[in-house]
Symmetry: C2
Subunit: 457 residues, 2 copies
């Protein structure tokens, strides 16, 4: 593997510059204003895969943003690794808080600052550069296939149909994904579970038009006040979620599992310092690691209504809105939870208002096995480059597509992520440490090597 490392060391500048090219494209999947950029990004990913050594690469059109597919089959009798990633990014708002432009990648203090630097362009591109390194040094020991999609940040609505339609083409032995984080560089870890997601938008209508709050205030129901009361009732005094049936399929961990989970290196004082003192909060009876790892949650992602400009406007608005998402744990079904939410929200709405609930997107929770060949290969790969065995953890985020790979293609997934919790993904000043980017490029060929070796035995 020394040749591979040598090649990587000699091409660090090139690897950074090529990533920067991708980061400059504002491929914001949620905002249709950027559709042309998103399409342009798919083309750029395809070109990069061909240059890295793929025999074949194509941009596959879907009902939404395109999916990039590529492959290099060196020997059909060898194992095949299907790498999944996404080239779309979250919206960069609020723009005012970025220290440098979200689409003007900049290195400060050894960190690459840009929207998508970590989630997921930076992590996805490590696999492209790892392939290039193995290809140029003749060290490739597995066949490789890539699916790089453009709708992960909006719930992957067109990936399911794509998998269904291409089952033969996508045959593989494992799905490899770098879209998660590690505890720290000193405590490398592998996520073995991800939460599911149900994302709802609610609209509460009071009067049929905006009214003068002096003339009508006090006599006509205010939708902001009513929405606030409804939101306030979604958690009880112990921060349990009050939606009927919400916890029906949630199984509590047993004592041994709880102890294992809570034995991961975690410093609550350091965690508290990341935000603002006294800001740590949550469901009664559970630790912070449990709250983010194994318990379902309900979070307000956005709220708006009435006059939100400069100064004062005395309006009693017609409508108020909120975006509300729930993270789900194994056995909770995102469609069922969406239905329970909708029924509950309609039920708690007083007669004074009408409500409309719409569903944005959802996905199912997953737990990945730690006794598989693939997990062991990842464990050995990380041990080879970090010098210590990674800790299995449960992540709080969601990659809805992981459950789909299993259902549609019958494939398990390994979540070998190199992000850090402080990478500000989905936030202003998203970053990815340069060292993590290169460490990922270094580790991935080891995964290929050990996966080939362990598959044989």
């Amino acid at each position: 593997m020394d040749n591979c490392s040598k090649y990587q060391n000699e091409h660090q500048e090139k690897f950074l510059n090529e990533l920067f090219e991708l980061l400059r494209i504002p491929s914001i999947s949620a905002d249709s204003t950027y559709n042309d950029d998103t399409a342009r990004c798919a083309e750029a990913v395809k070109e990069s895969l061909l240059k890295a050594g793929c025999d074949h690469a194509e941009v596959c059109q879907t009902a939404g943003h395109p999916i990039v597919y590529a492959e290099k089959i060196i020997d059909p009798s060898l194992p095949t690794i299907l790498t999944y990633g996404h080239y779309d990014v979250q919206p960069p708002d609020p723009l005012g808080l970025w220290l440098s432009g979200p689409f003007e990648p900049t290195i400060r203090d050894g960190k690459i600052f840009a929207r998508g630097a970590c989630d997921d362009k930076g992590q996805m591109f490590m696999h492209v550069k790892a392939l290039e390194s193995m290809n140029e040094t003749n060290l490739l020991q597995c066949n490789v296939k890539f699916i790089i999609e453009g709708e992960e940040e909006v719930g992957s609505p067109n990936l399911g149909p794509f998998l269904e339609a291409n089952q033969e083409k996508l045959k593989a032995d494992i799905v490899l994904v770098s879209d998660t984080s590690m505890i720290s560089m000193e405590h490398p870890s592998i996520e073995t579970g991800l939460r599911g997601l149900a994302y709802m938008e609610v609209e509460v209508t009071g009067p049929n038009r905006d009214l003068h709050s002096g003339v009508y205030g006090g006599a006509v129901a205010n939708p902001i006040t009513i929405l606030s009361k409804m939101i306030a009732s979604l958690h009880d005094e112990n921060n349990h979620i009050t939606i009927e049936g919400f916890y029906d399929n949630v199984t509590d961990l047993d004592q041994a599992e709880r102890e294992a989970l809570n034995s991961a290196p975690f410093d609550l004082d350091e965690y508290k310092k990341r935000f603002r003192d006294k800001n740590v909060w949550g469901e009664k009876g559970y630790t912070t690691l449990e709250r983010t790892g194994v318990r379902p949650t309900l979070e307000l992602n956005g709220i708006w209504g009435g006059y939100i400009g400069e100064g004062a406007k005395t309006v009693l608005p017609s409508k108020a809105f909120a975006k509300i998402s729930m993270r789900l744990v194994p056995n909770q079904n995102s469609n069922e939870i969406s239905k329970l939410f909708t029924a509950h929200f309609n039920k708690i709405a007083p007669d004074y208002v009408t409500v409309k609930v719409t569903e944005h997107h959802g996905g199912e929770a997953v737990v990945t096995p730690t006794n598989s060949v693939a997990y062991k290969a990842a464990e050995k790969a990380i041990e080879a480059t970090f010098g210590k065995k990674p800790i299995p953890t449960r992540g709080g985020g969601s990659i809805p597509i992981i459950a789909l790979f299993e259902k549609t293609l019958g494939l398990k997934t390994v979540l070998m992520g190199f992000g850090l919790d402080n990478d500000n993904i989905h936030s202003p000043n998203e970053k990815y440490d340069v060292v993590n980017y290169f460490k990922g490029i270094e580790t991935i060929p080891y995964f290929h090597k050990y996966f080939a070796e362990l598959s044989k035995s």
Copy 2:
């Protein structure tokens, strides 16, 4: 007065066109982007007053938007009417709901649609055209002074100092204001009370930056959830306001006063139909007329936080904001209420968040006497042009400056407004009926005539 009516009938088209010129200027005082337009509007008002017959008119600079002063002194021994109005307007948002541009005045179904059509350019300009009519027909029987300000919609912060500094110049016998509404053209009315106002903005901060709601949700306090809970607690189950001390200085009307107030023509079924069925709501134990006329209220005017764009973003935001205003009744002091609100809001904030409360502007409630010469003159003027005696009512809105006139200049005010409750002031599609505009221009000279006559006796 026949000559005056004749002059008005012959100049209807001119009167409309000149109003339209004013309505085309986006003099939005709350938004500093429009400062040049607001200044241009002041100049236009000054010019219109000179053309209408004033001997002197000037644009007086202030720390904010300018105040237009004008006068015509025909005989120092005659009574002097000080007419107050404002040339600034509310922001037009939400723009998408206007059927025609807010600053492109259009007549549809006999109604002038434009921001400021009723509040207050249309009503203020009636006085300019009434003066022109009296002047051209030599019917002027009182001296006239005008103060037309540009900051009414932002709480008139610079009018107090202007009145203080110009007490001699502003000497008069009565303040006449058209910035309120009547019950209907069939039930003309005069407002005899206005509520005061305290307008607050609150900022609730959870974590010190936006976080990923999957990674941190459930473990870090969400400022939208907390703000919602705080807002929800501001009214109890009877819709009483829960701020400590809020009602301390509120005196209930006695039975006779309540009966008089509730005997005004008011059709609750028709009122309900104005909005949406089941939308009428309010403080337990009070009628709709009492809720809007004599009871203090607390209304949410705006709320925002997190991601409010298209699609879905899984963010746990750092901050959430709301604009909250309270309408006050006589004896409640707006500074004191602002202080009580601030103390209460800080008190109910849980440790998980920090809050910042800022005050936008305030003003005091007023009750105007119905036994004065000026009120009687207004009553007779309306009777002369509408054919029936106006009903005294209590309005829910606020014109903070009215209390200031009494305090600084020792002057009482008559609120002779010609708007209608369905004029959509502060809302999209603000309108003013053409017939109300002309009826106002017709009625104002009668007020001058009767005020002169009754002042003599």
